[in-house]
């Protein structure tokens, strides 16, 4: 029941925010309270859990005649991602405090509903319920981009919606095909995982699922929607897109590919690693050439998610652990950078690296925050991203050293774009004499929290790894050292 409450809470919170919006900031506080309550509830579930992999597991019939039931379960990976979703929800509200001044009720409702749907994704183990939430998250996220975005927001939002909704058909068709092979009507992933399917069937099903996951993960060549959606979305939208929505793709791949199609995954693993390596290099190189800071960060997301794909495809313990950590680390680094760039844009009305610079003289807190998260972007030791990427590279070395060298070379590219971003924003002389207000408290605290999280995971990853351990073990399909 608690798991369902975890989904219903933001869904209802969104409705409340929608209807009480008006004068004052009521809807903002309601949204923050909703997410805070979710965090409390999550903590309560985790604290009250028994030993074993699952903190909680429930099943209710939804459409019995169709074989659909509400199968929810939460392990460490889900819990970590839900905590991030709720936390980034609060941060999004704070980050958009002054940016969003029109139709604030709908905005906060969309925020809540996006988070509610992603939490549904992180909890569902019935494939159709998973697909339900998978597609349900598109609509409020679409609204966030289309209504409050910049520039050609409608085009960007449409691209986002169409790419992801079309890819969703792959997931749906594969789910139906999988269920039609079962001996009784069910979409329960645990039951479907017990089926013994031939490798070729598994590969086809996996391709269907992967279509949805890779588009959401935005691994090239499925990435075309991402740069514009990220760049043109309002700050809160970018934070949620990078911090939460991309993670649903990584999560789906991490959770369901090894669980449902172990042999299929093994068969296509080399292609997965190659695709990831190509994507990481492509994303990295394109990021190096960007002048728009937000667009640059958007392309780094492509690179990092491609690295996650490499880790999941490699399928050995180190690589999987690295992929899981990288998912979480990237949530902090990318979201923080989007927040900072959004805050900077509000002040300077430009994101062009050629027109910015000298932040360290004008606004030292801004500069320090940028410095930290640019370091995270290039996976400097001490940041959470280092842990993730190092583990992935080590894991890939166990599989194939050629791929490992490719993975290492992507890290070199990341140094180029991260230092370019840092240099363009923080160093040099200020281009204008206009004073620049430093971070205010609504920007300072979120950044501080995300910095601490990045550093803590970077310096003491054991805690997070212990939390993720069961999920990593479950995803471990290849009997290799």
């Amino acid at each position: 029941m608690a798991l369902i409450a975890l989904i219903l809470l933001p869904a209802i919170g969104g409705l409340v925010a929608f209807f009480i919006a008006g004068r004052g900031e009521r809807e903002r506080w309601v949204t923050i309270a909703t997410f805070a309550l979710m965090l409390v509830l999550l903590a309560a579930i985790v604290a009250g859990a028994d030993d074993g992999r699952w903190y909680a597991k429930v099943s209710y019939p939804w459409v019995p005649s169709f074989g659909i039931s509400l199968d929810f379960a939460m392990d460490g990976l889900s819990a970590a991602l839900i905590a991030i979703a709720a936390g980034l929800g609060i941060i999004s509200v704070m980050a958009s405090w002054s940016e969003i001044r029109t139709q604030s009720g709908l905005f906060h409702a969309s925020l809540c509903w996006t988070v509610a749907a992603t939490i549904g994704v992180f909890l569902s183990f019935d494939l159709l319920i998973f697909a339900f939430f998978w597609e349900a998250m598109l609509v409020p996220a679409f609204t966030l981009i289309a209504v409050w975005g910049h520039g050609d927001r409608e085009g960007a939002a449409l691209k986002f919606l169409i790419f992801n909704a079309v890819a969703g058909f792959g997931l749906l068709a594969a789910s139906f095909a999988l269920a039609s092979m079962a001996d009784h009507m069910t979409f329960n992933a645990f039951e479907l995982a017990e089926m013994k399917l031939s490798t070729s069937v598994q590969v086809w099903m996996l391709l269907g699922f992967s279509l949805a996951f890779l588009v959401k993960l935005s691994v090239p060549p499925f990435h075309a929607w991402l740069p514009e959606a990220h760049t043109l979305a309002p700050t809160a939208g970018s934070i949620l897109l990078a911090g939460v929505l991309l993670k649903t793709g990584a999560y789906g791949l991490f959770r369901f590919a090894p669980m449902l199609f172990p042999q299929g995954l093994e068969a296509v693993a080399p292609y997965g690693i190659a695709l990831g390596a190509a994507g990481a290099l492509y994303g990295g190189f394109v990021a190096c050439g960007q002048n728009d800071a937000k667009r640059l960060v958007a392309y780094t997301s492509i690179a990092h998610m491609s690295i996650v794909l490499m880790g999941i495809s490699a399928g050995v313990q180190y690589a999987l652990a690295g992929a899981a950590v990288e998912m979480i680390a990237h949530s902090f680094s990318a979201s923080a950078l989007f927040l900072l760039i959004g805050a900077l844009y509000e002040r300077t009305h430009t994101r062009d690296l050629r027109q910015l610079g000298g932040l360290q003289q004008l606004a030292p807190r801004f500069a320090a925050a940028f410095a930290l998260f640019c370091s995270a972007l290039l996976a400097l030791p001490g940041t959470a991203n280092f842990v993730g990427e190092a583990l992935i590279v080590v894991g890939i070395f166990q599989v194939n050293w050629v791929f490992a060298l490719l993975a290492l070379s992507t890290l070199v590219v990341s140094v180029i774009y991260a230092t370019r971003l840092l240099k363009g924003l923080v160093f040099g002389v200020p281009r204008t004499n206009a004073p620049l207000a430093d971070l205010n408290w609504r920007e300072y605290w979120p950044v501080l929290v995300m910095s601490l999280a990045t550093l803590i995971i970077g310096l003491y990853p054991q805690g997070l790894l212990a939390l993720l351990e069961p999920a990593i073990k479950a995803a471990l399909v290849l009997p290799r050292p």
Binding site: L138, V147, A157, I162, L172
Partner: protein, 454 residues
């Protein structure tokens, strides 16, 4: 006639009386009176059907079938006609309109129980003739054009239908659906003609040409009658033919599949750049007819369930969208929708949710309908049709998305007068149904299953 037979036919009798009563009130009273008479008649017929849910089928002979599906069809026709009646006044100030509306419902109710060629033809003609008059009600150039188009094509379709029936009769010697078990060339040709005639009413491409014009130029409630009431009735006829008749298989199923696939592509493609809400909805109904035809073409054991479920999901979405369209004046375009959320929040929400449902996105009911459609196609292994459906709905995301966010853009234009209470109530009901079917589809699925249970 026994009492049981009389009771079984009572809904049709009540509808006929209501149509006559509404007509007789025309010279005597104001529009509201005719409307009230129509409403009372529809409600009474609805109540009579609902009271008989679960009752054993009355033996009505070959002409009319009294089974779950017929009752579902009559109830559906009454409910959606009631919906159309609510926003009739905004589009048609003519006093004759309510009577014609009830006649459409009567025709649809006849079709719902039609198990015989004579009833089928009768039902189709009652619906068509009433619709022609309703389409022309604005007496504008476009309205007349739409009505004229419909008249000519309807005549053609009726002839095709009649000739088809005649050919099938020539081979099988039967006029009731159960007796249609032909395999020869005559029956095959007859089936093709029959399908063409039905496809016209069902606005399947390439017999769809009248639909967008009718949606654009005629009052929104006439569009609702054509797009929801009569369409569902024809769908039920096709479903009944699918379940009871044994028409030459390759013609029947591949014909339906071809018509369905063509409609999915044509409807979605032509809707793509359509800036006008009602016209877009017109193309959208063509696409949705295509989806339903594909379900029937699959021949899957779940096809019946899937079709009725689809119809149940489709009605509140289409009625909601058309009601909003009627409230915004003639043929509202995209810019007319801007700022609607400030001006008229209920309408904005109802429109967005309706379009969300038609697009097949969760948490609207349309998503579950899409699941049904995909499931039927995957179960049947019809990968080509699946690809066409995926392509069609992908296009659909584009044009629905343009419309469902439009109400949230831009500034509010001048104050609008509030919508009448009844319209507000209708929109609220549509919103509730769309969300309910999306979140708890088991409600509707149970109804549909009970309907189809022998």
């Amino acid at each position: 006639m026994t009492a049981a037979q009389f009771v079984a036919l009572l809904p049709l009798i009540v509808l006929a009386i209501a149509a006559v009563a509404a007509m007789m009130l025309v010279p005597l009273a104001r529009l509201e009176a005719a409307q009230a008479a129509a409403g009372v008649g529809l409600l009474a017929a609805l109540a009579l059907v609902l009271l008989r849910v679960g009752a054993p089928a009355a033996p009505l002979g070959a002409l009319f079938t009294d089974d779950g599906m017929a009752r579902f069809g009559i109830a559906y026709a009454c409910l959606s006609s009631l919906g159309a009646l609510v926003f009739l006044r905004t589009g048609v100030p003519a006093k004759e309109a309510p009577s014609l509306l009830v006649l459409v419902a009567l025709g649809a109710a006849t079709l719902a129980g039609a198990g015989h060629a004579a009833t089928l033809f009768l039902g189709i003609e009652i619906v068509s003739l009433s619709l022609i008059a309703l389409f022309a009600f604005r007496l504008s150039r476009q309205g007349l054009e739409a009505a004229y188009k419909f008249l000519v094509m309807s005549g053609l379709a009726s002839s095709a239908l009649l000739l088809g029936i005649a050919l099938i009769y020539a081979e099988t010697g039967a006029l009731d659906f159960v007796g249609w078990t032909g395999h020869g060339a005559l029956a095959a040709f007859g089936t093709a003609l029959l399908l063409a005639g039905l496809a016209f009413k069902f606005s399947l491409a390439p017999f769809h040409m009248w639909t967008p014009d009718a949606f654009e130029a005629s009052p929104a409630s006439a569009a609702a009658l054509a797009g929801v009431v009569s369409k569902a009735a024809v769908a039920i006829v096709i479903l009944r033919l699918f379940l009871t008749a044994h028409l030459p298989e390759p013609v029947w199923s591949s014909g339906l599949a071809a018509l369905g696939a063509a409609s999915v592509l044509v409807g979605n493609l032509l809707a793509l750049r359509q800036p006008q809400l009602p016209r877009m909805l017109g193309y959208s109904t063509i696409a949705h007819s295509g989806y339903i035809a594909l379900i029937l073409a699959s021949g899957a054991p779940r096809a019946g369930e899937a079709v009725l479920f689809y119809l149940g999901i489709y009605a509140p979405a289409m009625l909601g969208a058309l009601c909003v369209s009627a409230a915004l004046g003639r043929a509202p375009t995209l810019p007319d929708l801007h700022g609607l959320i400030r001006r008229r929040p209920l309408e904005a929400i109802a429109l967005s949710l309706s379009l969300l449902s038609l697009a097949g996105l969760p948490a609207a009911g349309g998503f579950i309908a899409k699941l049904y459609l995909l499931r039927v196609l995957v179960d049947g292994g019809l990968w080509t049709l699946l690809a066409i459906v995926v392509a069609g709905s992908s296009l659909g995301f584009y044009y629905y998305a343009r419309f469902f966010t439009a109400p949230f853009f831009g500034q509010s234009s001048p104050e609008a007068e509030p919508l009448p209470r009844l319209d507000q109530g209708l929109l609220a009901v549509c919103v509730v149904l769309i969300v309910l079917f999306g979140v708890a589809p088991a409600v509707l699925i149970d109804v549909v299953r009970a309907t189809l249970a022998p």
